[in-house]
Assembly symmetry: C2
Homo-oligomer: 451 residues x 2
């Protein structure tokens, strides 16, 4: 009964079998019966030759849906194999923001040829002026725009004439003579108002809006916070340029989270899906951090060399090095990830630093005592001398506390300095804890074991 | 002009000043001029005494909005201080799913008292049967439900009579005589249809829907994939129970991502916002993983003890231990986070394992060569003997490759076994790489340095 229960794997086989028999009508029918996200998923599983056979034979609206739903890189690959005329026909059917993105991903000469054959060029053209990841690069034209001097009756007549087929037409944006955004009316407000009333008297003049050059993340956050289906985009003069719709919201928020997860693991975010990223790009996104952390991590070697005398007197000290720095890194990582996430969700800000540190100190004291006892017992069961076992236990407790402090403070400071807190919270923090943790270890060893 | 540019910090001071003067009318006016998310943010910054003074004096709709927008724990704290009658009045105004959540967070006797005074109890009652994080726990009653044997004209008349004030009324769900979900009509389809046409002839019978006991994440994924504003919820017999609306979407997806980020840093996800979590809960969520990783990490000690002879012959081998295992952990972490995220976004599946491993091997070969050379140079500049430097360089190259393999395969296998891949991809993976990486180190040292 429900479309999502369609088994795409079976359908792909059916489509391929139909194509193998030369029965492309059946393949087209199978695809056209699906919803756009399923069409795109099935389509992307086909080999390029079969994609090239099918795409021009699909209804142009379905082709447009598929190119919109595909990942950017894949859409660009497929589009680049199309005739300029065929491509222009499909681009005309696409949402203007998606069409602009796709044009931006094509070779310049092909993009120019396609633009030259398009009829909707006046909708797409202005979008090309803004980066893909800005509010302006994500906008589409509002389906209906009202003038503030219209009456409710005139507005309804206008709405009927335009007959927008979109749930976003629930919000009707209002402009003045200079096309400046001055208000918003809901469909319901319009319908219940007396027919002779002017729009300016019905509308809500406080419209949440965004500037075209603002970051798309800011737009997504506003839409999520206020539960908006459509966010109007304006230029420097406050003129209504377009609107961002709710379908872009999830994609933008997911991009943002992906960046956080990559940065927390010391990698630059990829600019495209994992499977589409060339090996050399993957290498470039990772090698810088790996080298930087390597250089920082050599600090641990410096610390070990500095305490070479202690080490050679008690080689058994060595056995606990990975254990101690590993636990410090883990304890610090737990804290910093919690802080990064709380910052991303807006649960805490820099001014909460005292509260955060106090929470983390108390938690770390509890954790440190448990880990200290565990470490002491582990060392004793390895038949380490009691003083060494005591050193290990004490160090574990101290390192857990120290790591929690670093893990709490670093991301908050980064946030304050407008650096992405995720950048300093993963391995960067761990590496810092490694070297300083070893210093703590040897100082405690000197004190307790009298080395 | 736009509401989001309101400076909440200044407003909070004005509200507090007004309350200090006993001028609660001004405080109420200041709050009621804001949008609900801003009202809640301001409200949560006030001390409890001031919250208690203000809440009963606000318009009941504003109070309901504020309790809906506040974090669950804070809403429950504030609600628990209200009189049962006042609370019931506010609960009646809240969205039924939010009211049910709040009731579930109160002490049972207070929840029962509040329920007894509520008038909308028939809307909230059924929701209490489902867990907060299931589709059933997130649903609200559809604003309008159509019967399939209505005509288009009757449906429009029904819609006018109900006059729903919601953008989600764009989707009109259709049921049969047994209240079973049989279709969906858009507002536009209804308006352009001939007035005598029956709904069953206009509607789309393929409705994406979800079962009440399904996980809320599944609901959010469906809504995001198909760009839905409302997802109908059904019971075992396919009867329409309610619908999930788009405002829940972002919250659910964010919860899911938060879980991933916590698990990637070896912590159990908190069930409530960071700032509301008691210290003992934070301790409990972290201590298990810390101990488990500690026990696993003692493997590194076992490896070091096993190679004690080699270590005592060449104490300089020790200096590189943190560097080698740190780099291995970092390289493995980069890979596993990329895989976890690609899995979460549905970009890859288990059957892609060969492709993923092949991508990661090639990337790791490049990274391994760079790190190997860097390690060799670093060791030489520390005036290590050439054979030791060669050992360090070779080991770095081998560990990067090994870590990439583990980092790619572990999350894919976990995903296949229906374990959250994030669980095995952070420190769990690193710890495994630490111990095995040391074995690689000493075996290479034996071979090259002839220890």
């Amino acid at each position: 009964m429900s479309q999502q229960q369609v088994d795409l794997d079976i359908l792909i086989e059916e489509v391929r079998a139909a194509l193998a028999e030369g029965n492309w009508r059946r393949a087209v029918a199978l695809i056209e019966a699906l919803r756009p996200p399923d069409q795109a998923e099935l389509f992307s599983e086909l080999p390029p030759e079969e994609q090239d056979v099918l795409l021009p034979r699909l209804d142009v609206e379905d082709s447009a849906d598929i190119l919109e739903e595909l990942e950017d890189a894949e859409a660009a690959r497929i589009a680049s194999r199309l005739e300029a005329r065929d491509l222009a026909r499909i681009l005309d059917e696409m949402e203007p923001d998606e069409a602009a993105d796709l044009l931006g991903d094509l070779a310049p000469e092909q993009a120019i040829q396609a633009l030259a054959s398009m009829t909707e060029v006046e909708e797409v053209g202005p979008l090309l002026a803004y980066p893909d990841d800005s509010a302006g690069g994500r906008m589409v034209p509002p389906p209906v725009v009202l003038r503030q001097d219209m009456t409710a009756e005139e507005a309804i007549a206008h709405l009927r004439a335009v007959a927008p087929d979109s749930e976003t037409a629930y919000y009707l944006f209002v402009v003045d003579e200079g096309n400046r955004l001055v208000g918003v009316v809901s469909l319901r407000q319009l319908i219940v108002a007396p027919p002779w009333r002017r729009i300016r008297e019905i509308m809500d003049p406080h419209v949440i809006h965004i500037h075209a050059r603002a970051d798309q993340e800011e737009a997504a956050r506003l839409m999520a916070r206020y539960g908006l289906l459509a966010l109007p985009v304006v230029d420097d003069e406050g003129r209504l340029l377009g609107m961002i719709t709710h379908d872009d919201l999830v994609g933008v928020l997911e991009e943002e989270t992906t960046e956080d997860i990559y940065r927390l693991s010391a990698s630059e975010p990829l600019d495209m899906p994992y499977v589409d990223t060339p090996i050399l790009t993957m290498f470039r996104k990772r090698v810088g951090w790996l080298l930087l952390l390597f250089v920082t991590e050599t600090l641990t070697g410096t610390v070990l060399r500095y305490f070479e005398k202690e080490l050679s007197e008690a080689i058994a000290l060595t056995f606990f090095v990975p254990l101690l720095i590993g636990t410090g890194g883990n304890a610090g990582g737990q804290v910093s990830s919690a802080i990064v996430r709380a910052l991303a969700l807006g649960e805490i800000r820099f001014r909460d630093i005292a509260m955060v540190v106090w929470r983390e100190i108390r938690t770390a004291l509890l954790l440190g005592m448990v880990m200290g006892v565990a470490g002491f017992i582990r060392a004793m069961t390895w038949h380490s001398p009691p003083l060494l076992s005591l050193t290990v236990g004490t160090t574990l407790c101290a390192i857990v506390l120290w790591a929690a402090l670093i893990g709490a403070i670093l991301p908050l400071i980064a946030h304050r300095l407008r650096i992405d807190p995720a950048v300093v919270s993963g391995p960067a923090m761990t590496t810092l804890v490694d070297a300083t943790g070893l210093v703590i270890y040897f100082l405690i060893a000197r004190a307790i074991m009298g080395l």
